[in-house]
């Protein structure tokens, strides 16, 4: 049970679920197991007929075989039910956040507007609510006023609060999460029962997913084989009847024998575990904080060959950081650093803060050495520069062209080497900011995009899996190329406008690529909707989340790696178990066929290569093996088969070796062992 990662209570409800699933109407969706149930039912009738003496046969044999056929169905149901219940347990934990709260419904979207207190259940799409510090957000919505720190542990499990603010791509909030700091006005975007949380709970709870086309295709093969084996056993009985008629020896293969043969031959192992594999795949993703809204998306992830990534927030941290100071016009480094500090005193942007920090560190000054009384000259779209007036001196910083205009207007001169320095910085993919004291240009700060930690490794891992990454950025080609090189992306699209994304996805798909895309902004939504695998960040806008088929609760775009791995291992598990299931049949033939025919022609006992003396015990051993292999492989179905980014031929060879060859050999050993074990009880 530790292996399965569940406690006793869950185990018991899975057992109960396994019995409930015996209902033929429910079992019908798994045709192979349904046919096993029919076989078991027929044998049950047969058993009672024998018990009442209507038919003469070996009662213990029919009895035990019947029991084990039922167990085969139940063990199969158990695997499915277990995987469902593990998902449900997670849904339960989400539900605790889904409590009704008191919402402050505003008349109009303003902090001063009067509000009435209503229950969150009564909120409808379009309602405007006020949420203040310490309150629970009553429903899914978008912030239209203000900013707040929100604790989203309810959905993400991440305890560090995240910033949500109006007018940005991070304006979406989720019902049930808590505002830790700040006051916001929220426009509700979902009716009760349709919220994100509701959808997620529903998704996980109703593990009755639609079968994916791939599952259906596999089922076609399995059902056809099952049909074939049904004919095989009917034919087997007919031929044995004929042999008995013409030789007058022995008995034809009994109903029990052919039912046993049928169930052993039918690909029950894979059929039993097929639903569990799909459900477990979703569950495994959920444990990594990824909610897949369809099984198909996970499968498609296994096939992805192109990944589109936004630069900002995906490859690089959202903000640029100061990385270097270069004094110009004969000024010293000290002067340059000091001017940088002064010009950034009032700069609250992350870039400004990073300049301050780096300069202070380089200069070794403490915060108290910096003047407090300053006149702030804010950034405006006209001047494109910002700075302060302090102690009669003015400090400014800004882009090269803006600063040049500013200085020239004041009658200052531009140092001749400035242009060279600026363009050199731009060449490396960084952004140069020029610092001015009065009308003297002191130096240049390089603001650099900082790559997210581990992004390079993750991209190279994706490449090993055969996935090409394409970076989309609004930057100029020079900057884009520099970042692309540093991060190790395979290709990049510079100066991309939002609508280019959709076109790019379409073009790639036309060339036959399976495209994955991660996005968070509203303008990503059309491209997300078009992509085969669309991963939306949970921090993204509602529109993006609705267009996606996979949602990453951690808002970590490189999560695609895990999604691909789960997708691939899910497919491998299916293929591996199919191979195993079919390979098993060889051993079962060598056990059951001689056992069934040797009463008529003892010469056929040569095929009994395991040398199992008692034919009935031999058949029973095969049936028991067939049933027990299901729980034995359930952990594999839940965990997923091993996947490593190696060449497909290597992976194929590995799996053929383990599951094909293993599938041929394992049952010989296991059936022999089971035979000798049950022999102990019989004798």
């Amino acid at each position: 049970m530790v292996v399965l990662g569940i406690d006793r209570k869950l185990f018991m409800s899975a057992v109960i679920g396994a019995f409930k699933k015996l209902n033929p109407i429910e079992l019908w969706h798994n045709p192979v197991m349904f046919s096993v149930e029919i076989g078991a039912s027929i044998l049950t009738v047969e058993f009672f007929l024998e018990l009442l003496g209507v038919k003469k046969a070996i009662l213990w044999f029919t009895g035990w075989t019947t029991l084990w056929l039922w167990l085969t169905v139940i063990l199969s149901n158990f695997a499915e039910s277990l995987s469902e219940i593990r998902g449900k347990a997670r849904a339960e934990s989400l539900k605790t956040y889904k409590v009704s709260v008191v919402a402050k419904k505003l008349k109009e979207p303003s902090f001063d507007s009067p509000f009435e207190e209503v229950s969150s259940i009564d909120l409808r799409k379009g309602d405007i609510v006020l949420v203040q510090e310490g309150e629970i957000i009553p429903g899914d919505g978008e912030i239209i006023e203000g900013a707040a720190l929100v604790n989203e542990a309810a959905v993400t499990g991440e305890s560090a609060p995240v910033l949500r603010e109006a007018g940005s791509d991070r304006n979406a909030v989720i019902g049930g999460t808590k505002v830790v700091a700040g006051n916001v006005i929220i426009k509700i975007t979902a009716n009760p029962g349709e919220t994100f949380l509701d959808k997620m709970i529903g998704m996980i709870e109703k593990a009755k997913r639609r079968k994916t086309p791939n599952e259906i295709a596999l089922e076609v093969v399995l059902v056809s084989l099952t049909g074939l084996f049904l004919m095989v056993v009917v034919n087997f009985r007919v031929l044995s009847q004929y042999l008995v008629e013409v030789t007058g020896k022995g008995k034809p293969a009994s109903i029990t024998t052919i039912a046993a043969l049928f169930v052993c031959l039918a690909p029950t192992t894979i059929a039993a575990l097929l639903p569990a594999i799909g459900i477990a795949g979703m569950d495994r993703l959920f444990r990594r904080n990824v909610v897949a809204l369809s099984g198909r998306a996970i499968e498609a992830a296994g096939d992805v060959n192109v990944l589109l990534l936004d630069k900002t927030g995906t490859i690089t941290l959202g903000n640029r950081m100061a990385s270097e100071f270069i004094p110009v016009g004969g000024h010293t480094m000290e002067e340059c650093l000091w001017a940088a500090i002064m010009s950034s005193i009032a700069d609250e942007t992350p870039e400004g803060k990073s300049i301050m920090e780096l300069a202070k560190k380089s200069l070794g000054v403490r915060s108290d050495a910096i003047p407090k009384k300053v006149k702030v000259i804010p950034f405006t779209s006209e001047t494109k520069i910002s700075g302060v007036e302090v102690e009669g001196q003015s400090y400014r910083k800004g882009a090269y062209s803006a600063v040049k205009d500013y200085v020239e207007k004041l009658g200052g001169t531009v140092p001749p080497e400035l242009e060279r320095v600026v363009s050199k910085i731009a060449m490396t993919g960084a952004t140069p900011l020029v610092i001015v004291k009065d009308k003297d240009i002191i130096g240049v700060v390089a603001l650099k995009d900082i790559l997210k930690e581990g992004i390079k490794e993750r991209l190279s891992k994706l490449r090993k899996m055969g996935i090409k990454s394409i970076m989309i950025t609004g930057d100029n080609p020079l900057t884009a190329a520099a970042i692309a090189k540093e991060a190790g992306v395979d290709d990049f699209i510079p100066e991309a406008k939002p609508e280019d994304k959709l076109k790019l996805v379409r073009d790639l798909q036309k060339q036959g690529y399976i495209v994955a895309m991660t996005g968070d902004g509203t303008n990503d939504a059309p491209a997300l909707a078009q992509a085969d695998v669309a991963v939306a960040m949970n921090a993204g806008t509602q529109a993006a989340r609705e267009a996606a088929n996979i949602i990453d609760l951690d808002s970590d775009p490189s999560k695609l790696l895990e999604i691909v791995e789960v997708g691939k291992s899910m497919l491998i598990t299916r293929g591996a178990l199919t191979t195993f299931s079919i390979a098993n049949d060889i051993a079962k033939y060598f056990v059951i066929v001689p056992a069934a025919v040797s009463p008529i022609f003892p010469q056929l006992d040569v095929l009994n290569i395991l040398r199992l003396e008692d034919p009935y015990l031999a058949i029973l051993s095969a049936v028991i093996f067939n049933a027990l292999v299901i729980p034995a492989l359930t952990p594999l179905a839940l965990k997923g088969a091993f996947y490593k980014a190696v060449s497909p031929n290597k992976l194929f060879l590995y799996n053929v070796f383990i599951y094909g060859l293993g599938g041929i050999i394992a049952p010989f050993i296991a059936i022999k062992a089971i035979y000798h074990l049950i022999e102990l009880f019989v004798r």
């Binding site: 086309p213 791939n214 093969v221 074939l228 095989v232 009917v234 293929g575 053929v656």
Partner: protein, 568 residues
């Protein structure tokens, strides 16, 4: 004595290996030729035919239209032949004055020849007039073979095209196959066979007084007829229906060891060449050779096992001190090697021609041909072997694709549930037919009473009959009185379903693949032309066939073998 056998064996093995070598050499030669026939813009003289029949050769068909025309063409052919056989007594070219076929036999024979099976529940020289042989049988020998090749070509087109509903024009394909592939090769073949002594005339049967004084005054009837022309296409088109009941064991059909070798070559000429054509037309020459390799592997394994088991002595004779191979049923003109080669080739290529009496061979000697027939893809019938192999490859690629963690694809096109239905139908229909029909036969009085040797051998006889019919092979195991209403109708059903259900499934695949988009190549797709995939393919072929037939075989030939050899 022992030394002599060893010498013979060395000669035999050289003989068998030389066959394999020659076959490998002809593959690219004829493969290139067939490719040219189907890629040529126009061919000499075909325009006249299209104009005469009002066919627009430029207009391609989608799979439904293609299937419709193909089935219609075959049904019409079937009916024409049915009535010729039924009414041959009133028709010309009947010097022996044979009466019309009974309706069930006529139906069986008509189905048999249109489906490229050539199962013969009758003996040609005692039943069929020259007109029936030529107009009915020989014409269908051409057309049924052409139909098979046509389907294979349509499938290849579907596999190599993308995003189009069209898979070719049936009338163009069938015309080109008949006129430019089958006719010229069989013409040359017939001339060569005549050089070896195969007869070709319209004479009435000869009556010869016997010279043996012990049989004084008795006469022997020697049948005549246009044998060579039918013989060539019988083999080239993997038809198998002999002019004479004794088929290629008859000295007028197969007179010399050289003609025997040549006939074997004719039978596999097109099936091997088509693998090369496949590689050429799909632009994947390696894959073409992989298919050839897989087929050749199965063939060589079967050939040498067959030879090994035919060389075995019968324990019953060993007890009497008689050593050497047990040769009952083998034609001494050809010896063990010539007999085992012919039977292996004939059953591999679903030809059904025989130069010996399989019923008399040792059980395993009969089981190997049986398994070859059942698989249908050890080269297989013209066209049929290739398209059957593609269906197996799709199933193999499906499971293999899963095992490398991709949504399965074949030749860089994604597989859908419907594709899987079609592939499964194409591969297991014949096994289904064998199992169902033999079950019915063994539960019916007439089915059982027609069996001449009861017990395991009887099981082999019935299974063999249906396997031969359902896979459109047509060879008979004998030992079964198959010319009665029950067997005529059930085998006719097996032949018809075994042929056309599979063809419809294959043409569906052709249409489905033609419409698909091509997934861009990457190093992470499964390589269908890798060595490991070849091994996997062999495994899948064996599993699907052996799993379906093992229980039945274990009560037929396997049991029989054990009864003979375990008695020691």
């Amino acid at each position: 004595m022992e030394r002599m056998i060893n010498h013979l064996q060395v000669a035999d093995i050289i003989f068998l290996v030389s066959f394999i070598v020659v076959l490998t050499i002809t593959t690219p030669i004829f493969g290139t030729y067939i490719t040219k026939v189907f890629t040529a813009r126009t061919l000499l003289g075909e325009g006249l035919i299209y104009r005469f029949f009002g066919i627009d050769p430029e207009r391609e068909m989608d799979w439904r239209t293609y299937t419709f025309h193909l089935i219609l063409f075959n049904i019409v052919g079937l009916l024409v032949m049915f009535f010729i056989l039924l009414l041959q007594g009133f028709l010309p070219l009947n010097p022996q004055g044979f009466k019309g076929f009974p309706w069930d036999l006529a139906l069986n024979t008509a189905v048999s020849f249109t489906t490229n099976t050539n199962w013969q529940a009758y003996s040609g020289e005692n039943t069929a007039s020259y007109l029936s042989q030529m107009l009915g049988l020989t014409v269908q020998n051409f057309l049924s073979a052409a139909t098979g090749i046509t389907v294979a070509i349509a499938l290849i087109r579907g596999l190599s095209r993308s995003e189009t509903p069209y898979i070719g024009n049936f009338w163009v394909d069938i015309t080109r196959t008949t006129l430019y592939i089958l006719l010229p090769i069989s013409f040359i073949g017939a001339i060569f066979l005549m050089s070896q002594g195969v007869v070709q005339n319209f004479d009435p049967y000869l009556k010869i007084s016997l010279v043996d004084p012990a049989l004084n005054g008795k006469e022997q009837i020697i049948p005549m007829g246009p044998v060579a022309s039918q013989e060539a296409i019988k083999l080239l088109g993997t038809n198998g229906g002999g002019f004479f009941g004794a088929n290629s064991a008859h000295p007028f059909e197969n007179p010399t060891p050289l003609s025997n070798f040549f006939e074997c070559l004719l039978m596999l000429l097109i099936p091997t060449a088509l693998t090369y054509t496949f590689g050429k037309l799909t632009n994947r020459p390696r894959l073409g050779w992989l298919i050839f390799g897989v087929m050749m592997f199965l063939f060589i394994t079967a050939l040498f096992s067959e030879y090994y088991f035919m060389m075995k002595s019968h324990p019953g004779f060993s007890k009497m001190g008689i050593v050497g191979p047990y040769v009952e049923g083998q034609e001494t003109r050809f010896g063990v090697a010539g007999s085992s080669l012919f039977v292996t080739v004939s059953c591999s290529g679903e030809v059904g021609a025989v130069n010996g009496m399989l019923d008399s061979y040792l059980p395993v000697g009969g089981m190997i041909p049986f398994l070859l027939m059942a698989s249908g893809v050890t080269f297989g019938g013209v066209g049929a072997g290739l398209y059957g192999m593609v269906a197996y490859m799709i199933i193999a690629a499906f499971i293999a694709g899963l095992m490398v963690g991709r949504v399965p694809e074949f030749l860089r096109k994604k597989l859908t549930p419907r594709d899987m239905w079609a592939s499964v139908v194409a591969t297991i229909t014949s096994t289904f037919l064998i199992l169902i029909l033999s079950s019915i036969a063994f539960r019916s009085r007439i089915g059982v009473s027609s069996i001449l040797n009861h017990g395991p051998h009887g099981i082999t006889e019935v299974l063999y009959a249906y396997t031969s019919a359902a896979n459109n092979n047509g060879s008979a195991f004998a030992g079964l009185s198959a010319n009665n209403l029950f067997y005529n109708l059930t085998t006719a059903f097996a032949m018809f379903a075994g042929r056309f259900v599979v063809i419809i499934a294959i043409l569906y695949l052709a249409g489905s693949f033609a419409k698909k988009k091509i997934v861009p190549a990457s190093s992470h797709n499964l390589c269908e032309d890798s060595f490991i995939f070849g091994i996997w393919l062999i495994f899948v072929i064996l599993m699907i066939n052996v799993l379906g037939l093992f229980p039945a075989l274990s009560m037929g030939p396997i049991l029989e073998h054990l009864l003979i050899y375990a008695a020691r």
